[in-house]
Structure formats: structure tokens, C-alpha cells
């Protein structure tokens, strides 16, 4: 028996085509994240530690600024050795300028901020302003 090739459901074919197209284009949205870099925030009474995933950043291109209760991480990431004749097969990594501002629930002591960059992870130690630290209230009994 001959394969029944003439009985293809046109609607199903269209759906298949649409799925194929979606799959094809889904790859394009992948490298451009709206939020960059991604951060984790650790807290205690003394302050906060912010870690950010920033692989392959040139430290000269990284800028950290503190204003009251906000911290801004900005900079740019470039392809170092990009040549015109180089042929890209795959391009998923973020390239370009980025800026991210985080608001913390306390005023940051800007003079005591520490920043470290290791293995592609930026670590910011953000101590709380002395005057803003929580005070313990003693309860008197009569």
C-alpha cells in the first residue's frame, strides 16, 4: 500500500509550522535579559551582602555607586577579540552596557562599603549606617 501522503491535515501542518517558527525564534530572545546582572541579597542587622553574577568583566569598566539606601552596579561587557571576519555559530552571552540599581531597606554607610570580584562574581558588603542600626529596648517592670 502506498503511503497516504495526500491526506495531510492543512491545519495541523500550519500548527507544526508555527511551532517550528517559535522554536527557531525562541533562541533570539535568550541572550538579551532585561535584568542584568542577576543578584542575590543576604542580610543581617549589621547590613547586607549583595552578590552579582558578572563573568568576564574588566574591573576598569565596572562602576559601583552608593546613594542613601540604593546601590548601583553599572558597566559594560565587550567581546575582547571580536574580528569582523570571525563567524559566529552561537551567541548567547550578553554583550553591551548594563546598569542595575537596588534599593535596600536601610541607609548604607558609603565609607565602609567593600567590593570584591572573584571568579566572575561581584560581592558587595554594604554596612548599615550606625545611626540606623536597630536599638534594643529594655522593658522595665515595676
Amino acid at each position: 500500500m502506498l503511503p497516504n501522503i495526500w491526506q495531510i491535515d492543512p491545519f495541523r501542518e500550519l500548527m507544526r509550522l508555527r511551532n517550528e517558527m517559535n522554536r527557531l525564534f525562541s533562541g533570539f530572545s535568550y541572550p538579551f535579559e532585561e535584568v542584568y546582572p542577576l543578584v542575590n541579597i543576604w542580610m543581617n542587622e549589621e547590613g547586607a551582602i549583595v552578590t552579582a553574577e558578572l563573568p568576564g568583566i574588566n574591573m576598569d569598566k565596572l562602576d559601583i555607586s552608593i546613594l542613601n539606601d540604593t546601590v548601583t552596579i553599572s558597566g559594560s561587557r565587550e567581546d575582547e577579540e571580536k574580528k569582523v571576519e570571525d563567524n559566529y555559530h552561537r551567541k548567547e552571552r550578553m554583550v553591551g552596557k548594563f546598569s542595575r540599581t537596588l534599593q535596600l531597606p536601610f541607609k548604607i554607610n558609603g565609607d565602609k562599603v567593600e567590593a570584591r570580584y572573584e571568579r566572575g562574581i561581584l560581592k558587595l558588603i554594604l554596612p548599615r549606617e550606625e545611626a540606623e542600626k536597630p536599638k534594643k529596648i529594655t522593658i522595665k517592670s515595676n
Partner: protein, 128 residues
């Protein structure tokens, strides 16, 4: 309640192998002499990465130490911490003896040189 407790206890005491694994982002480009792979693996250094070539499969595995700061508790999280793993099929036109891998600032760069016979050659045309 008892049962639940026991369950969580076993999950936390499981070996480190039971960690999350993420697919790192890569750029792959080709030059005249080589293929270059650039892999983003934040939290990985040269001591915690393995690159292996088995037949024609190039595998990358990076181990990441879990993040923890004493006296602090995690208040907000956007990225998860776990290992990185990804594999690529490479063509036979790669010189297997000449693979270079460099790790810097959480970025792995692997250079695969093309084998002599795979390089483009200009063919001289003589007038007949």
C-alpha cells in the same frame, strides 16, 4: 510531622552530587585556523573546571561552591547556585592534540585548532 522531618534531614545530608546543574551560556565562533568556545561560568575557577574530549564529544563541567555567609541569611534571590554542565559535538576536522583551555574571571575559553587537512587552501589556477 515526624516523617516530614526525616525526609528533609536525608535530603540535606545527601552528597554534593545531588546539586542543581545549570547550562552555561556560550559563544562559539570560527576563525580561519580555529573554533573558539567562550563559556560563562560564574563561580568557577581553573581548579574547579573539567574539560574532556571523549570521541567527538567535548564536555564541560564546572563545580560551584554553594554560597553562604556566616551570620547572614538569604533575603532575596535571583540566581541559583549549582554546577555547570554542557556538551558539544565536534567535527573530525579538529586537531585533538591541540586543544587549549583558559579560565579567567568565571569565563572559560576553549580553542580548538583545525586539523591541517581541514584548513582552507587556495588552489592555484594555471592557464591551459
Amino acid at each position: 510531622m515526624e516523617k516530614e522531618k526525616a525526609k528533609t534531614a536525608t535530603t540535606t545530608s545527601l552528597p554534593a552530587k545531588n546539586r542543581k546543574v545549570y547550562v552555561p551560556k556560550v559563544d562559539i565562533y570560527e576563525t580561519g585556523q580555529s573554533m573558539v568556545l567562550i563559556v560563562d561560568m560564574p563561580g568557577v575557577d581553573e581548579k574547579s573546571v573539567d574539560v574532556t574530549l571523549d570521541r567527538n564529544v567535548l564536555s564541560i563541567h564546572g563545580r560551584v561552591e554553594p554560597e553562604a555567609f556566616e551570620g547572614y541569611s538569604l533575603a532575596y534571590t535571583e540566581y541559583g547556585t549549582g554546577d555547570f554542565q554542557r556538551a558539544f559535538t565536534v567535527s573530525d576536522e579538529i586537531d585533538r592534540e591541540k586543544i587549549e583551555a583558559v579560565m579567567k574571571n568565571g569565563v572559560l575559553k576553549i580553542t580548538l585548532h583545525k586539523a591541517e587537512q581541514a584548513k582552507a587552501r587556495k588552489i592555484a589556477i594555471t592557464a591551459g
